[in-house]
Symmetry: C2
Subunit: 127 residues, 2 copies
Amino acid sequence: MRRHADYRQLIRDVLRDAAGPLTADDLRTALVETGIGIATVYRHLKAGLHDGDFVSVELPDGPLRFESASRPHHHYFACTRCEKVFDVEGDLDGIERLVPTGFELNDHEVILSGLCRDCVSSYEREC
Amino acid sequence: MRRHADYRQLIRDVLRDAAGPLTADDLRTALVETGIGIATVYRHLKAGLHDGDFVSVELPDGPLRFESASRPHHHYFACTRCEKVFDVEGDLDGIERLVPTGFELNDHEVILSGLCRDCVSSYEREC
DNA sequence: GTCGTTGCAAAGATTTTGCATTACC
DNA sequence: GGTAATGCAAAATCTTTGCAACGAC
């Protein structure tokens, strides 16, 4: 089996092409043909976070997810039924207004939750 | 040692008086004199989440935190230096605008991050 | 006595680390 | 050969679960 592939670049590629943030195990699965181990995935993710290649997103009730830092600013919609996570375009106004006096704002994250389109549809069918 | 105290109520009391969201272990520590076990803390938190007594907040790089559901709607400021979490008053406009067509929004969460007042001060002193 | 609650410990799930081995140059 | 990266497995951390014992009534 091939070893010492450019795993960092492979992880970058997978994250760049993903529709939303991925877990470490999602990445290992995507790269399973290379034989990458989960420890190596975590090591590259951690190094990439430090280097600014990736950002991490913590969502309710799930493992940490990662995505490419180069994606345009966006937020998330977490479906409480199917547990999928969707990227959401756009941003909010007035964020600075929330920051307490003397605090220094560096980043922000908005997580919407509810039902995604598919789950709204299947819920309506069931009732 | 006293057993079968009204642990749910004790947990409610601690969360009601807290300055921000607490971890399960914070709660066990706060109630250590009662001899409560961590499993019981988690069991009441889980039941209370289901009953709508508590809400959970997942913040970057830390265990799940909990707070009273009865607190007025607010958001969080997570200091990246001292890792404390502060409640933030107020809310944002235009959240509905972000929701993709066909999705049903039930909740949202805003997590600001940066430096808290104390860390801004000590950072300035150091430089 | 019955039923629900509890503590403890074990199990799960996720993430990190130690270490010998391997690949690259 | 020397250096850095890797896989495996153990450890660490956080959370859940099984179960026997206990308390409330």
